[in-house]
């Protein structure tokens, strides 16, 4: 597995994608890691960095997709090209890629890791759900995906007998797991450190509290709560 590094990286661009922000930073020597792994991004002016899964790794860059909803993500959305941010990663356990019939399922900002995952899996079928047409503008990152918009849910449109790899809000992940119990699911939790130091991101898996930043964020067939 690749060794995470922490280094300042220059912001290449900050683009709006519907209500979301696409942050592009120069990759320099940073290893993009496995799809589903994440990076801790310095949030200027805040005490703690923010965990972000990698969205895409085109030549020379690392792309991150997020929704500016709190002080950290708003600070990240306000950076400008040329600014430098400390980028620490890749971290955590990503998706397992040796699946015969992959189907990517994403909901809302949870589509973030799926474009990079789609490239690694040679563009498998993908199903994305959004709460509005405006949010669905982010689907341009996965051009071949099927898109549903609330009140239609991804679980209404999910084909059976596929190896599901999913990321999205917790209710969606739980509903996906009902239909596909062996799905690989990327979860989310507040994290201070991202590398197993703080024990802040504990989630309950099979009745035990584990660190999501080490055991996850991708958990397979696990009853995460």
């Amino acid at each position: 597995m690749s060794r995470p590094t922490r280094a300042p990286r220059r912001v290449a661009a900050v683009e709006a994608l519907g209500p979301y922000t696409l942050l592009r930073v120069e990759r320099a020597g940073t290893d993009p890691g496995v799809p589903g792994q994440f990076f801790m991004l310095e949030a200027p002016g805040r005490v703690l960095p923010r965990p972000m899964s990698l969205c895409l790794a085109p030549r020379g860059e690392l792309w991150f997709l997020f929704e500016p909803v709190g002080p950290g993500t708003r600070a990240l959305a306000a950076v400008e090209p040329g600014d430098e941010l400390h980028v620490f990663g890749p971290l955590g356990t990503g998706f397992r890629l040796d699946v015969p019939k992959p189907l990517l399922v994403g909901g809302g900002i949870g589509i973030a890791p799926l474009p990079y995952l789609a490239l690694a899996l040679d563009r498998p079928p993908a199903l994305l759900g959004f709460r509005s047409e405006r949010h669905a503008e982010a689907a341009t990152l996965l051009p071949a995906a099927d898109v549903v918009i609330d009140p239609v849910l991804v679980t209404d449109a999910m084909p059976a007998r596929r190896d599901v790899l999913a990321c999205g809000p917790e209710p969606m992940l739980r509903a996906v797991r009902e239909l596909a119990p062996t799905a690989q699911l990327a979860w989310e939790a507040p994290m201070a450190c991202g590398y197993g130091a703080c024990y802040g991101c504990a989630v309950e898996v099979d009745g035990e509290l584990v660190r999501l930043c080490v055991e996850g964020p991708v958990l397979e067939g696990a009853s995460c709560s």
Binding site: G196, A197, L209
Partner: protein, 285 residues
């Protein structure tokens, strides 16, 4: 020495970070295994963070059998942070710690995230003193109105050193006005804790000549220097390790420049500098 604050680093998950330290302080070990508090356990504030991890640890037996041998194999001196819910529990753990391999014991007398033992800090230190010849550091809370009084009390019953400060108890609310952490209040750490730590170390140094591990909001070499100027012999890094795993190396590199910028020839010259100036000012009247 540069150490980590207990609970701010897992040396087995990140041995390369522990290797940057002069000694590694374990997460607090309690007699029984503790899963810790339910999530959410951490939340950022404007100038720090709150945690309510709840002393998650595998318990004394598993620590001694599995965790400690793996920690000792790292080659970094190991300080064991000991916790409990009575003086007898602290003392029993101290008794069971191997005196030939463990470097030091830090008694966690001040976790804000669990119910406290009914005995005073001095009673707990006294009970542990009877069971081990390992160096005993008392980790104290910044909540005490008179830190010096507690320091003198634990010194009187055989403490070998003082660790200051643990986190301050704090509370922050979610947008819907409910507590942001599942436990409610948590331990407040990060940059906002720094002046509190400086005041506590300063007061402790006036009360004792024992070695002091200063900690609380350290982020830079200058911050280390300020704790040393207040009387700390050693400094521990806490929240900054969450942000920057390379903080030990960076802080060390910054320290030399900080000493020069403050116009001191050596770090030793800066030790207790904050006290000289207070005394000079008072004498000057």
């Amino acid at each position: 020495m540069l150490l980590n604050a207990s609970g701010c680093l897992d040396a087995l998950t990140a041995p390369e970070v522990a290797a940057e330290l002069d000694a590694f302080v374990t997460k607090t070990v309690t007699p029984d295994p503790r899963p810790g508090n339910l999530p959410p356990r951490i939340v950022e504030t404007d100038h720090g963070m709150l945690n309510a991890i709840g002393l998650a640890n595998p318990g004394r037996a598993a620590f001694l059998e599995t965790t400690l041998p793996r920690l000792l194999a790292l080659g970094v001196p190991i300080w064991v942070s000991v916790g409990g819910f009575s003086a007898a529990e602290y003392a029993e753990t101290c008794l069971q710690l191997p005196e030939d391999t463990v470097a030091c014991v830090e008694l966690n007398l001040s976790c804000p995230n669990v119910d406290e033992a009914p005995e005073s800090a001095a009673q707990i230190v006294a009970a542990c003193r009877r069971e081990t010849s390992l160096p005993l550091y008392a980790k104290l809370s910044p909540h005490a109105w008179d830190v010096g009084e507690t320091v003198r009390a634990v010194e009187g019953v055989g403490a070998d050193g003082i660790s200051l400060v643990n986190t301050l108890r704090g509370l922050t609310l979610a947008p819907d006005l409910t507590p942001a952490l599942a436990r409610g209040a948590g331990g407040y750490s990060g940059p906002a804790l720094r002046p509190v730590a400086l005041a506590a170390v300063h007061a402790a140094r006036r009360a004792t000549s024992l070695p002091i591990v200063g900690m609380g909001g350290v982020g830079t070499g200058r911050d280390v220097l300020e704790l040393i100027a207040c009387g700390a012999n050693h400094v521990a890094l806490g929240t900054v390790l969450f942000v920057d795993p390379d903080a030990p190396n960076r802080v060390r590199a910054e320290l030399d420049a900080a000493v020069r910028d403050a116009r001191y020839a050596t770090l030793d010259d800066a030790f207790c500098a904050a006290h000289d100036r207070v005394a000079n000012t008072v004498n000057g009247f």
